[in-house]
Symmetry: none
Subunit: 200 residues, 4 copies
């Protein structure tokens, strides 16, 4: 990467990081582009060289953060050779995600209800595709070599993600209807039930 290219990436990253800080502390609405560039130490016009508007940078951040979560989960899972069955793998990933979001409320608030299937479509996170991961592929791999067959793996994954993210959100942020500690057994049971409902 040339020095100019490096500098460009540096600016882009500075804008993304600053925007994330401000979005999570002040909220999307009350964060202005002026705020972002000022804190990022970049000229106003520069913002528009990299992003279309406030919502563009917001979308890219959500996609990026969501991807990071699953990347983390997948990496962690790979290390655990004791986990073999599809059911255990999915539970592991769910637990990993819940833990992470419980520990990082800022992150949870940010990706909130956007941590969903839509993410995996469309969204190219960085401008340079190399860093991106094909999550459909990652998830499909979970089902390889399984003794048990599943009706529709993609749908199963989808349902679990939606279930986990929406229940966790309410529980962690508002303790409704229960705090995450109390709710967790219910979530785990339900995930296992959802999975079993899909076994052939």
């Amino acid at each position: 990467m040339s020095r100019i290219e490096q500098k460009k990436q540096h600016k882009r990253t500075a804008l993304l990081n600053t925007a994330f800080e401000l979005f999570t502390s002040k909220g999307l609405n009350r964060t202005s582009i002026s705020d972002i560039v000022e804190r990022a130490g970049v000229a106003k016009g520069t913002f528009y060289l990299y992003f279309k508007d406030k919502y563009d940078i917001h979308n890219r951040l959500i996609a990026g953060k969501a991807a990071a979560v699953f990347r983390g989960a997948a990496d962690e899972l790979e290390k655990r050779e004791d986990i073999q069955s599809v059911e255990d793998k999915l539970i592991f990933i769910s637990d990993y995600v819940i833990d992470l979001l419980d520990k990082d409320h800022t992150l949870l608030t940010f990706i909130s209800k956007n941590l969903s299937w839509g993410i995996f479509k469309n969204v190219l996170i960085s401008s340079r595709e190399e860093t991106d991961v094909d999550f459909r592929e990652v998830f499909r791999r979970l089902f390889e070599n399984s003794d048990t067959a599943y009706k529709n793996p993609e749908v199963l994954i989808f349902m679990i993600i939606e279930f986990v993210s929406s229940t966790t959100y309410s529980s962690v942020l508002y303790s409704e209807p229960l705090g995450i500690k109390e709710l967790r057994p219910y979530i785990d049971t339900s995930i296992r039930q959802i999975i079993r409902g899909q076994q052939l």
Copy 2:
């Protein structure tokens, strides 16, 4: 209600309806109070006689629309004397909600990610509307006289609502990962599984 009182309600209703139209067509952010009053045929200052700001009217709309959905479901269920078991009742309500949201994408977009447990608190709290219903009470009643006992009815309801609303959203609006027609059997199976997982 006096004629003056009627006129007042008329303006309030006009503002609510117009706001709903605009929020669903343009989104909360891109709808201004000016837009609302202009379309509603009301003076700018009048808005502030009824609502605090844009977010106030938005919240009241969410609560109102969400309540209407469940009111409709509860009413319909009451007519069906053939449905007896808790499981069948919950499936009936879920189906009712999915049907409704599938037919009314505008409504789906609007309450979509907002249709959650937190809502009911607000609905119950705001309650100046005489028509208000205590939904916790309504839902609790579903479990009366049941042969089967459930671990925590409130949590069960919560999980189903979150599951149904988030999966329906993605499916109906984006046909991801499947259209609602194809996804439906998976949703139904999963709900039944979630319910069974809570039986004592």
Copy 3:
């Protein structure tokens, strides 16, 4: 007119006057809306209550100024009972216009070559149509009671206006190809010739 209505007209007029001053001294491009409102002693948002943008106020000004020129000419002509023939009337008006533009270079620069556009394109000058004048009607009246008939009065007027304004512009502002004093006999002769060419 109510006091509020008076105040509104006052603001509108202040904006128009200030815009004219600035357009003529700095030019359209280098005049900003900020400049206008600042000098007019009005808030920035107020501008947009009365005009769409800089070009809107510019168009209305041209139309207004062009109308004023001809209103002046028509008024003056009315006082001159000695002028009877269409030819003399048209020459009188032309001379009046040339004199005016020669004395007021600012005005000439401003309406430049748009004199006929201002008249023939029905731009709304005021916000209230009633106050506007239909110059086509005014001009048509010149031909009433004439001994001589003309092929197409409207076309004749149009050609004279275009001829007078474009030749005057170059002559007065740049003395090209001659100063207005020297050019004038040529213009007069030509106008008379154009008129005669249209006599039936």
Copy 4:
């Protein structure tokens, strides 16, 4: 011309052509240098190697386009040995110009109100282009060998140019007060009248 020199001219020409397209389609004000270089496929900095600013390229275009029009007219006239009298020659040129502008509205819009006496000064002054013609000379030649003498040939030419360009503009672009087809006889008659008014 060396290959480097060719490449240079190629860029310059690309900029001129693109600027012309944009000026005529979007107008001078709403065309930015960024627009021009982007469409021309040239780097931003490169623009400044060839032109001072937006207005510089605009002026050069006007002069060039206007000169081309008259060059075309003069060339065409030279071929026509049947046209002898000054009057017929001037009518021929006028008709040629009107035809051209009627067929090419883009060109008409562009040189529109700029096709005037002032131009010829600029054209003659700038003259780095080898192809430049001394138009005063060209026009003077029209009057050579004429049986009829004219008061002031330069003024006559000036008046005709102003008359033709301003009336054609309004007629072709706005059909005001008549479309060019209908207006044409009036224009022709008037030109002949103007010419005759100058005969000694």
